[in-house]
Symmetry: C2
Subunit: 110 residues, 2 copies
């Protein structure tokens, strides 16, 4: 986390991350990874009520969004969160919400 890492993601990247977060199974995968620090694909399949191929596909989405990374460990694959990417994502959402907060809404919405 040096000063060089971009404080905010590009818009496309933000959209990709938001999309990756927009499925309950993927949230569950992220939380499980956070809880265990690292997971084999099979463990995630065990936790989720989904077929192995479906879990693998969700993992691919998360990987392509940059939120998780995998590490081949012999015949198995170890997945884990990408802490730096997650920090960047959080910063990007924060920046987005900061920008949105700047306005005062017309509708009370208490």
């Amino acid at each position: 986390m040096t000063a060089t890492d971009a404080p905010t993601l590009t818009d496309d990247a933000l959209v990709a991350v938001a999309r990756a977060l927009s499925h309950p199974a993927r949230l569950e995968i992220l939380r499980t990874l956070a809880g265990r620090g690292t997971c084999l694909c099979g463990q995630l399949v065990d936790v989720l009520p989904l077929a192995q191929s479906t879990v693998s596909q969700h993992l691919r989405v998360l990987r392509e969004a940059g939120l998780v990374c995998r590490e081949t460990d012999g015949p198995r694959t170890c997945y884990c969160l990408d802490a730096a990417a997650i920090a960047r994502a959080r910063a990007a959402f924060d920046a987005l919400f900061d920008g949105l907060d700047a306005a005062d809404s017309c509708c009370g919405s208490v």
Copy 2:
């Protein structure tokens, strides 16, 4: 406003918000609303390279996610951000990322 409003959104709501944020046009709409405070549908159509019906549909998605609200003003419709909902959404994302930060990843990811 009572003690009943959850500080964090339910998981379904979080997914819905993430989904609403996962399209560039909808981000643009939110930012435009933030910049102007309030917008007629036509103004948004003017800003975006999309047909009126498409913009209206994006507005519907944002409305159903609870991020914006509309106010009928005679023959036109005024849209604006729902500041409270946005604050809730930000809190929910923050909580999510807090949970994810708890772990240390296996992959360096520098």
